[in-house]
Amino acid sequence: VLSLEQVLISSRPRGLLETLPAYASLLCNFDPTIASFTGLAEAIRRFEGKLQPVRLSGETVEIATRYDGEDLANVAAATGLSRKAVIDLHTARDYLVYCVGFAPGFPYCGELDDRLSVPRRASPRSNVIAGSVAIAGRQTGIYPVASPGGWNIIGHTDVPLFDVKATPPARFKPGDRLRFVPG
């Protein structure tokens, strides 16, 4: 997905306005007054089978996290692990940012250790505070701004993730790597 996005950004097919990557898909916004759907689709398909894997060269960003989340006890109960084991498993590996979505700056990261996999909360919270570190399924993420949310909150961080005055405004972009460290 990221390789295709890179060749599209460098080759700039006519009419293509913006691309947005996710796990296994790439959204291409285009101006239909400049390019036709079929023409642009053909231009994009020309790269099929010719893509080189992207080298993810970025460093791993450490996210200092207090494991004091509201759902930590529930996650421990649901997984049959101790709180400490939950924390150890969550901090044990680097995560890849697959996409940024849901809310400004929210990084969808994976993959979580299978043993930590728990479903979303049955009913979402109406207000999750900014900096909440959360897990759902094989994914983990951080709420960059206060918002409703259905993921299980296991901790909090003070690392700023979204700032309209920064360039780019989001701390993470697809392809970045991060690691949670207790503290």
Partner: protein, 312 residues
Amino acid sequence: MIEIINSGPGRPGDLAASIQDLGRPGFERFGVPDGGAADWFSAAVANRLVGNRRDAALVEFTGMGASLLFHQDATIALAGASISGVHSFEGDPVWQSHRVAARQMVGFRKLDPGVRVYLAVRGGIDVPIVLGSRSLCERGHFGGGFGRRLRHGDALPIGDLIEDAPRTRPWPLGHRPAPWGPWEVRLIAGPHSDAFPPDALDRLTAVAALVTPFIDRVGLRIETPGLHLQGKEILTTPVTAGSVQVTPSGELIALLVDHPTTGGYPVIGTVIRADLPLLAQARPGDTIRFRAVDEAEAARALRRLEDWLEDH
């Protein structure tokens, strides 16, 4: 300067009104929705009527009105939903421009039919540009001048994004979108057609879909009585304004401009840009009939609206 007066009893807190413009394309990869006026066409007409540039910011009122106290002479225009409980307008208030004198108060109470009405002031609302736009990004708590919806007492400065003279005549009847439902809304199949049975879109376009009370700038929840659509789970995927998601309970969510940039429900079809204004004006209880079209028809429909804007 224009002052927002939150008149009338029983309206605590923020108004369902915000400052919007063309939105902020280019930041979706950072999780920031395009935003901007939900009914982009009515907003463009309102700006056109007062002679503004198309990127001038205006006020989007949703579901209810307010009063505005003008601290200077101004030319304003309204476009979009019909309004009632009007004061200080002469003639038909919507779809034409008006002169307003300093210290004059204009306002309205209710919107119906339609949900959103745009108030443009000649010169545009001059609030700071954040990430390329003056639009409020409610999820991100930024933009729109205040990082929130408008409130009683807010002061809106007037800018100078003027293109030409104000239009003195009303916007032609034939060049306005359908003012009320039932709405025919055109959509393009997919992108997740594979997640549904082959006849799913045919079945959807055969029924009258019903708009539920759950409508906002993120999207509309829509029921399909007598039809239970069932889609397979998909990996989190980018979505866009117009994406029609099918939830596990079989309900539809038609996304609008403040949609999250990614979603986890399969998308059965994508409403064409030319018909997003209809979705933005649909009221709870309205019926929608979806019609499947191809990309060429979508482009023609958009061209038609753009031609209407250029003609006047």
